[in-house]
């Protein structure tokens, strides 16, 4: 089993539904997006186009972040999902430096969105146990939702159906078919990381 995601950038409209779905489900801190949309222009007027590429943790098979973690906080689970045990993480940030995808965030504080008012909202209160200041965090491919039989929040939300979640190791799965059919590529594959997030463009 190897959970992963195919992102069809030819369908993506850059709407940020995935980014905010993730933020909402996980209650991430101000300024932290476990996944976000990168965008850039190509070409010149009037033949220019905006290009979109959603990016997230690639849940690498050969995860450099796990390799450098001195305390074994980052591990690659049997289902392929790379997780961080915040109880073990000591905040050394080796993994942040090692990740070629810039997918990790060192959480300086768990301050909420309204520090100027000195309060946390009811929503923030209920989600704060998910985060620990002084540790590193990132996309967990909604492993808690997957355990409940759901798909990750980002792919569930995507209005353009640009994200397809599934088991890359199951040759009968939709995602495996898409990877084969479109020769879906990973980001910086030459690094040998074996990313589980593949792109169709």
């Amino acid at each position: 089993m190897r959970y992963g995601m195919v992102i069809d950038t030819s369908r993506c409209v850059g709407c940020n539904a995935c980014a905010v779905a993730c933020k909402q489900i996980h209650g991430t801190a101000p300024g932290v997006f476990w996944n976000h949309v990168e965008r850039w222009e190509e070409g010149s007027y009037p033949n220019a186009r905006m290009k979109y590429q959603p990016v997230m943790c690639n849940h690498c098979a050969n995860a450099p972040c796990a390799e450098v973690c001195p305390v074994g906080a980052t591990v690659v689970a049997e289902n392929g999902i790379v997780t961080v045990d915040k109880e073990r993480c000591m905040g050394c940030r080796y993994c942040v430096a090692a990740c070629p995808y810039d997918a990790r965030t060192f959480l300086m504080s768990t301050e909420g969105y309204y520090p100027e008012l000195g309060i946390k909202t009811g929503f923030e209160e209920t989600k704060e146990f998910l985060h620990e200041a002084g540790t590193v965090e990132k996309c967990i491919l909604c492993n808690d939702r997957i355990a409940e039989g759901k798909e990750p929040a980002c792919s569930k939300a995507c209005p353009a159906r640009a994200r397809i979640f599934g088991d890359l190791a199951d040759p009968t799965s939709t995602i495996a078919h898409l990877v084969l059919q479109h020769q879906a590529h990973g980001l910086q594959e030459d690094l040998g990381t074996g990313p589980s997030v593949r792109y169709i463009s």
């Binding site: 030819s10 369908r11 409209v13 850059g14 709407c15 940020n16 539904a17 980014a19 905010v20 779905a21 933020k23 909402q24 489900i25 101000p30 300024g31 997006f33 976000h36 949309v37 965008r39 222009e41 070409g43 010149s44 007027y45 009037p46 220019a48 186009r49 905006m50 969105y113 309204y114 100027e116 008012l117 000195g118 309060i119 946390k120 909202t121 009811g122 929503f123 923030e124 209160e125 209920t126 989600k127 929040a153 569930k156 939300a157 995507c158 209005p159 353009a160 159906r161 640009a162």
Partner: protein, 898 residues
């Protein structure tokens, strides 16, 4: 201590109110405005949580994070707190999807900058930068104050109340779109605040009797999208985004004619155009179709339009026989005949004939003659669209329309026209916007692509194409109400001066400041706004401010402190759709699932009110009760029954105050039958009906020549005639337009004249373009103050910046990040803001993403991150659409380095 969240919050608010008064809030309120009170509420969430027993529920409900509410979401509530939102897989429209706005719902609800309890001002001076000195008061006092003032005004002159509502409260049956409160009160001075920025309904309603037009993607193969927005640009979760993406990937071509390269243009093809010049472009399309290609759908024109109707010499009406029936020319018998004469051999579309002593022609002939000079080369000068492209696009329309083809759907053979022009707000909100809209619908008529598979369609509606005595589609839609001339004027703003005006709410301000121009014999004294804000839904902020100071009393229902609240005497907290029972009906075509009609979404409340806010309709019933406007014939419950069309046996008792849930229950049972109680409805969160695939297309209800779309614009012509006659009879002058202007635009065949879009101005050399983004559309659910929405917007390189085409910026010596001011010709200046250079914008434009910026004392600081584009708009009579009075959203602007 056994205490519920609600009682805790109420207790807290009461204590706070007492504390605030004792401490002298006016003195305590600083730049932070009402924030000291907020700070005192620290801990309310935590303590309330601890007090409640652990629970977890998942409830389906509507999403009202945009102007529509057709997505069904599942709301997870844990221990009384909304913790998760995701699409409901059973949702008939969204099928489990949820857009960026819906996802941001928790941050919308749990926003400490919300108005939490009723407040009054202690500082009589009103202004955007003036501290109102808020003091919290209890609900009883607030309702009593409102009821007392409203009752006194109603006894004096009910016309003196101005009531404005907007999208944000549309999930309330009584307070929302149906206007029941002002109707009961008895004021004609009511409107919807957003209408003047979104006049996208009139011409379509006139041509095919429906509220909103769409391209039929199910059969469509070529869509010429003029003026911008379709689903990918705002990325709703309602199915339209994925459906359009599917269509484009499967070979449907979509050419987006727009100053900005939008996401759908990126998926399809982008044809840049100078803003506000769409009319010239569309006229040139007709020129190519009729004069160069000489190809059109003659069958459709003869049988489905008034193209064959003879127009009298004055071009004011159809030429009629003694029975009053419109005449056509039978080209075989060489004789005039009534349009429905069974002996007609063939309808002449061209020629000049002498009938009843007049030289007359079919309307098609007049259209052809009237477009002779509008060549692609002529249009290129105006629009900057290369003539070759205009020719190609016209030919592509013709080629893809497959004129003469049919398709069998559900055993019913229908015309198939898989090509059309699709219109958006970007083309209608200009000086000649609705003449352009009408012209686009002419293009669709010429290729036979109206109300048929593949063409320009509206929601499935058996009655939409019902013909009148002239055989022409009856324009039955509230957008097509032509205001009859009345003098003295019905509305304070004298809507008669714009006969097809729709929600020209801003014009009230004009009339307040210059009543003599509007022949007013009274002056409004009270202003109530619910979900409405002139400052980001109109223009001219200084003029708006001056007008608001004219009122003796202003009450506003506000989600947060915004510009309107800063002028209010009484601020009432708004309730989000999540904290109360909500319902929303939506009868529209659903791309990808077109059989769906009459959809309704809603829920009982998902969570208790987070603060001391209350359900909106119930507040209004309390106010009405206190001012003796609730019970008995003609009062609020009575008019609720009438206006909502409640089935007689389900009528709400005229002597009993209903709950908001009871009103929804009666309304649901009326629409869907007795089985659809609110309890039943709430289990799924939606109700809908389905029709067969052929009935999706209104052609199927009125096939063949049973009804006709108007090719000759008899409506505009009649409106102009009525306007001039009315003014002449009353001896008054139009407050803004001369007769020559009216004559030019209010006519049966469209024609073009220069507007400010093509003026040569070395100083104000740019044309403004505001474009929607998924995170910020319409400001319905407070996105400009929602921290998640703002952060998502910040991932866009243009957010909070002034976008200029790269070459335009270079010519001005500006580079990315340079700070500039933006100024309009009225002297309004905003900024400084950084420049963003882009290749995705027409060189003549100044683009702003999202808009909806707010200004003012003590507002949520995030709301100032967005740019208040509307401040650059003028509401002057020279800056509005001549047909609908809608605000031109592309003013001439200049930038200056800060």
């Amino acid at each position: 201590m056994d205490i519920s969240r609600r009682s805790f919050v109420k207790t807290t608010a009461g204590v706070l109110a007492g504390t605030a008064v004792a401490a002298g809030v006016a003195g305590a309120a600083t730049e932070a405005g009402f924030l000291p009170l907020l700070q005192a509420t620290e801990g309310m969430f935590r303590e309330a949580l601890a007090a409640e027993a652990p629970t977890k529920t998942v409830t389906p409900g509507l999403c009202h994070s945009c102007h529509f509410a057709r997505c069904s979401l599942n709301y997870t509530v844990e221990d009384g707190v909304l913790t998760e939102v995701e699409g409901n897989p059973n949702g008939p429209w969204n099928e489990g999807k949820c857009c960026v706005r819906g996802q941001a719902a928790p941050a919308f609800v749990y926003n400490p900058y919300r108005v939490k309890t009723p407040m009054i001002r202690t500082n009589p001076e009103k202004g955007l930068d003036v501290d109102p000195g808020w003091v919290e008061i209890g609900w009883d006092e607030a309702i009593g104050m409102l009821a007392e003032k409203m009752a006194a005004l109603r006894a004096d002159d009910s016309r003196k109340l101005v009531w404005m509502h907007g999208f944000p409260v549309f999930y309330n049956l009584i307070t929302g779109m149906y206007g029941i409160v002002p109707a009961t009160f008895g004021t004609p001075n009511t409107g919807m605040i957003t209408g003047a920025l979104c006049s996208v309904h009139l011409s379509n309603s006139l041509v095919q009797g429906g509220f909103a037009q769409y391209p039929d993607f199910a059969y469509g193969k070529y869509i010429l999208a003029v003026g911008g927005t379709s689903a990918p640009n705002i990325a709703p979760g309602d199915g339209a985004t994925s459906y359009i993406v599917d269509a484009l990937k499967n070979g449907t071509r979509m050419v987006v004619v727009d100053p900005r390269c939008s996401p759908e243009a990126e998926l399809g093809e982008w044809q840049p155009i100078r803003p506000g010049t769409d009319l010239a472009y569309l006229l040139a399309l007709i020129n190519v179709i009729l004069h160069e290609e000489d190809r059109y759908d003659a069958w459709f024109l003869k049988n489905r339009t008034t193209g064959s109707y003879l127009i009298n010499e004055a071009q004011s009406d159809y030429l009629r026989n003694e029975a009053g029936k419109p005449l056509i020319w039978d080209s075989v018998d060489a004789a005039p005949k009534a349009f429905d004469d069974p002996t007609i051999n063939d309808f002449a579309l061209e020629g000049v004939y002498t009938v009843q002593g007049e030289k007359v022609s079919p309307s098609f002939h007049l259209l052809k003659q009237g477009t002779t000079d509008y060549t692609p080369e002529w249009a290129e000068e105006i629009t900057t669209v290369p003539a070759a492209n205009i020719r190609t696009q016209a030919r592509d329309l013709l080629d893809n329309a497959l004129i003469g083809s049919t398709v069998v759907i559900n055993g019913n053979e229908l015309p198939l026209r898989p090509a059309c022009v699709f219109l958006s707000r970007g083309m209608t909100n200009h000086r000649d916007g609705h003449v352009a809209f009408w012209t686009a619908m002419l293009v669709n008529q010429l290729i036979g692509a109206v109300a048929v598979p593949g063409g320009n369609v509206v929601a499935s509606d058996p009655g939409a194409l019902t013909p009148d005595a002239d055989g022409v589609v009856i324009p039955e839609n509230f957008h097509t109400r032509m205001w009859p001339w009345q003098f003295p004027h019905e509305m304070f703003q004298a809507q008669e001066f714009v006969p097809y005006g729709f929600d020209n709410a801003f014009r009230v301000n004009d009339a307040l400041l210059e009543p003599e121009r509007y022949q007013a014999d009274y002056k409004p004294e009270m202003f109530i706004s619910v979900g409405a804000n002139y400052f980001n839904k109109a223009g001219d902020p200084e003029r708006t401010s001056a007008a608001l100071r004219e009122y003796q009393f202003i009450a506003t229902f506000s989600y947060h402190i915004d510009e309107h609240a800063l002028f209010a005497d009484l601020v009432i907290p708004d309730s989000t759709y999540i904290e109360q029972a909500a319902v929303y009906n939506f009868d529209m075509y659903r791309p990808g699932h077109p059989q769906l009609v009459n959809s309704t979404f809603g829920h009982k409340h998902i969570i208790d009110p987070v603060f001391d806010n209350r359900w909106i309709d119930e507040v209004w019933m309390d106010v009405a009760e206190r001012m003796e406007m609730l019970y008995g014939p003609g009062q609020l419950v009575f008019l609720t029954n009438i206006i909502l069309g409640i089935r007689p046996d389900l009528w709400l008792d005229l002597g009993t105050k209903p709950t908001q849930e009871e009103v929804i229950d009666r309304w649901l049972r009326t629409r869907y039958g007795d089985e659809m109680t609110l309890d039943t409805f709430a289990e799924t969160g939606f109700a809908y009906e389905e029709v067969s695939g052929d009935k999706v297309f209104n052609y199927s209800y009125w096939p063949g020549s049973q009804t006709r779309h108007p090719l000759f614009n008899i409506y505009f012509k009649r409106a102009g005639d009525q306007l001039r006659a009315g003014m002449r009879e009353a001896g008054v002058e139009h407050p803004g337009w001369d007769n020559e202007l009216i004559d030019f635009y209010y006519r049966g065949i469209p024609q073009w004249r220069p507007t400010h879009a093509v003026e040569t101005s070395s100083e104000f050399d740019l044309l403004g373009v505001l474009y929607k983004t998924p995170e910020m559309i319409f400001d319905v659910s407070g996105p400009s103050g929602n921290p998640w929405s703002v952060e998502a917007m910040e991932t866009r390189p243009e957010f909070g910046k002034i976008c200029l085409n790269t070459q335009t910026a270079e010519k001005k010596g500006l580079a990315e990040g340079d700070e500039v001011y933006v100024e309009n010709r009225g002297g309004v200046r905003i900024g400084p803001y950084p420049v963003h250079t882009t290749e995705l914008l027409h060189p003549d434009c100044l683009g702003i993403a999202g808009g909806n910026g707010h200004v003012g004392h003590g507002i949520n600081p995030r709301m100032k991150r967005s740019i208040p584009y509307n401040h650059l708009l003028s509401t002057g009579w020279d800056a509005v659409d001549v047909i609908t009075g809608a605000i031109d959203t592309s003013p001439r602007l200049k930038v200056t380095r800060a």
